[in-house]
């Protein structure tokens, strides 16, 4: 039982990382039916910027966070213009390739600027460890869990209480109706993409002490987060929070009770099974070509 709880704690902490990244996929998919396929690389950029401002330049965490957000806003605007706007609603899945292309650029730029080796970033809380009884968790892991919960709460408030958030959701239903209502859909597309980018930046900022800053730090994370967004259903943020944490926990349990190598095999097979049974994801609403 103790073994189980130990593993569960580690798994939930990893799962929170997945949730934090996975929610980014849902935002642009909600507004534009497009998603940033290379979101993991954007997370990596957030981590690299944290390395730069916090470790290399020595700024404190708040200034670092502000700098990360500002740069991610800029990158988000440029990224949308370059990889989404030109292909938006061409009806094809070209954005899969165009957003991946931007991801390739990021990886290469990161290798050129920051080198090829994983650079450690110290935990925001020093080397301390939070202990309760015989159990323990790194404070940085706890921060990830808390951040994930806060971001999901804020997102909920944003979607249901703010005008822009409501416009996001309206766009999701029909962009024609939204533009008839006098809402600038173009602006909504850009701002949703930027929001995704900023969230990726924040995720990178929070998780980089755990994963280390490295050009490839986001690649596998991004892919797993994508799998989770798909399992939950791209249009269901709260489902994503739940699925991310559950996936992390199940992964750790698979490692604990079977062996590490089987983890991804089980995880991804499970995902295929979910989509086979519920093509719209566990929490998504079905969509169908209209007759």
């Amino acid at each position: 039982m103790e073994f189980f709880v130990h593993i569960l704690i580690g798994g939930i902490a990893t799962g929170a990382i997945y949730s934090l990244i996975a929610v980014g996929y849902s935002i642009t998919f909600t507004t534009m039916r497009v998603l940033n396929f290379a979101l993991g690389m954007w997370v990596m950029m957030g981590g690299m910027l944290t390395l730069t401002f916090h470790v290399i330049f020595g700024f404190n965490l708040l200034i670092t966070l502000a700098a990360v957000i500002v740069i991610m806003v800029v990158l988000g605007i440029v990224g949308e213009r370059v990889s989404v706007y030109p292909f938006f609603r061409t009806g094809s899945d070209v954005w899969v390739m165009s957003t991946l292309a931007v991801g390739f650029l990021f990886i290469n730029v990161a290798e050129l600027i920051w080198g090829r080796n994983p650079e450690p970033v110290p935990s925001f809380f020093g080397s301390g460890i939070i202990r309760f009884g015989s159990f323990a968790i790194f404070p940085q892991q706890l921060l990830v869990i808390v951040t994930a919960l806060v971001i999901f709460f804020l997102l909920h408030v944003f979607y249901y209480k703010t005008l822009l958030g409501k416009a996001f959701r309206a766009t999701a239903h029909s962009s024609d109706v939204t533009s008839l209502m006098g809402i600038n859909t173009r602006l909504i597309c850009i701002s949703s993409y930027v929001l995704t980018s900023v969230l990726a930046g924040i995720a990178g900022f929070i998780i980089v002490p755990i994963t280390f800053a490295e050009a490839q730090m986001g690649t596998v994370l991004g892919l797993k987060a994508f799998a989770i967004a798909i399992i939950a259903g791209l249009g269901a943020p709260r489902g994503i929070l739940f699925c991310g944490i559950a996936y992390g926990a199940l992964e750790a349990l698979a490692s604990g009770y079977f062996f590490t190598g089987i983890r991804d095999i089980l995880g991804f097979s499970f995902m295929i099974l979910v989509l086979f049974l519920r093509p719209e994801g566990l929490f998504g609403k079905p969509t169908r070509e209209r007759a």
């Binding site: 130990h6 580690g10 990893t14 080397s127 323990a136 790194f138 797993k224 490692s255 604990g256 190598g261």
Partner: protein, 417 residues
């Protein structure tokens, strides 16, 4: 439709003819050596260490007049750690760039793929500074007692595993050994070799855990090793993941002694693990901490000057490449630039003073294409940011601090006493 097919055909034809006439070869005036290695991606630190080691050796040799008045030129290709690319690069380097010798790559699988091609088709000697699968040198040509063009100046898996396991079981006296290996790269070869050696000693591993690059929290693995009653954990992997292991051990208050193969014999490990890395044992061919020979000191100083104060990412690979170039230069100076002669020459070097070690025996023989044996390995202990060599006396294993203080290692938890 037809027109597009026509275009394709034309394109092919253009490519075929364009590349059909290689540029004029300078093979006569210079000594061309080829290197294909991962220079991008996660394995790049190995590839870059090899490249820099080779380049510094070549610059030194050329500054001293080259070999028989000929300059050495290194032609470098990135193979992205992919066997297909390595094979293509080797063909290209030999056939188009007319290299007369090769330095080995970063990926054991790639070396296994390319070895038969080198032996059967290209017939140009290759010296491997890094890849450690035993079968690379003990390949088909070796089995069939034909001319074997594949040499290794780095450590080979079997030797490293024997050394590491023997050190732990025989010298440190552990009976229950747990394994924790990386699911990629040399973690896979290492895992096999470690298990083999443990079985040979009659002490099969009590637990055999793995992790992959996505693991940032090793709780399940450590708990399972702990549960199996491992007295020591032996690891095969890289700095980043190893630091996750040591930090997770710290989190779980686990003090099981921890030893690793040479993947963490680099400053990157301490940088990542910090004080949680204190006491970790590492098998390696070379440690750049502690007292160094004057020749090594000169190279380390030169490295720091060339690369803005950086330290070497992978010292074993850097020095192996450095020595490999000097060894090749020596042989070429004696037998000339015919690859077949160089191959034979490499089997006929009675003594060689390298930076890794002073070979007072033939570096290679016809039957033995591994220059280093397990006797050339050392065990280091990470001690306050330095990898200090472990020595033994009647009392047990000890290290010597910079202050010349002799400290014994407590085999229970690897602390100093």
């Amino acid at each position: 439709m037809k027109r597009s097919m026509m275009k394709t055909a034309a394109l092919f034809a253009a490519c075929a003819t364009l590349v059909g006439f290689p540029g004029s070869s300078k093979a006569a005036e210079e000594i061309r050596i080829g290197l294909s290695a991962a220079l991008s991606g996660p394995a790049a630190f190995v590839g870059v260490s090899i490249r820099r080691g080779a380049e510094m050796a070549i610059d030194n040799i050329n500054a001293n007049g080259g070999v028989d008045g000929k300059k050495i030129v290194l032609i470098v290709r990135d193979d992205e750690h992919k066997p297909v690319k390595t094979v293509a690069n080797h063909r290209e380097l030999v056939e188009r760039e007319k290299v007369i010798a090769l330095l080995g790559t970063t990926n054991s699988a790639a070396m296994l793929a390319t070895a038969p091609i080198i032996n059967d088709e290209l017939k140009v000697p290759i010296v491997c500074p890094a890849t450690d699968a035993t079968k690379i040198t003990e390949n088909k040509a070796w089995e069939e007692k034909r001319d074997n063009y594949v040499f290794r100046l780095g450590m080979f898996g079997r030797g490293q595993a024997n050394f590491l396991v023997d050190s732990m079981v025989k010298k440190f006296g552990y009976k229950k050994v747990g394994l924790l290996t990386w699911t990629a790269g040399w973690g896979v070869t290492g895992r096999g070799e470690l298990n083999r050696r443990l079985k040979e000693l009659g002490e099969p591993a009590v637990a055999d855990e793995t992790y992959d690059t996505a693991d940032t929290d090793m709780t399940p693995q450590i708990l399972k090793l702990q549960g199996a009653g491992a007295e020591v954990i032996i690891n095969y992997g890289l700095a980043r993941e190893n630091s996750f292991v040591t930090r997770t051990k710290q989190k779980l208050n686990n003090t099981t002694p921890y030893a690793s193969a040479w993947g963490i014999a680099a400053p990157a490990f301490w940088k990542a693990a910090g004080p949680s890395g204190e006491g970790v044992l590492v098998s390696t061919t070379i440690s750049i901490d502690g007292p160094q020979s004057p020749e090594r000191q000169a190279v380390l100083k030169e490295y720091s000057r060339r690369y803005n104060g950086e330290s070497i990412d992978g010292p074993p690979f850097f020095f192996a490449a450095y020595d490999a170039i000097y060894l090749l230069a020596k042989v070429i100076g004696e037998v000339g630039t015919d690859p077949k002669e160089i191959r034979a020459g490499l089997e006929n070097v009675p003594e060689f003073d390298g930076l890794i070690t002073h070979f007072k025996r033939p570096v290679f023989t016809r039957d033995r294409h591994d220059a280093l044996t397990e006797d050339d390995m050392i065990l280091g202990r990470w001690t306050n940011g330095q990898l200090l060599e472990v020595k033994y006396d009647g009392t047990g294993p000890y290290i010597v601090l910079d202050s010349n203080e002799k400290k014994y290692i407590d085999t229970k938890n690897l602390t100093l006493k």
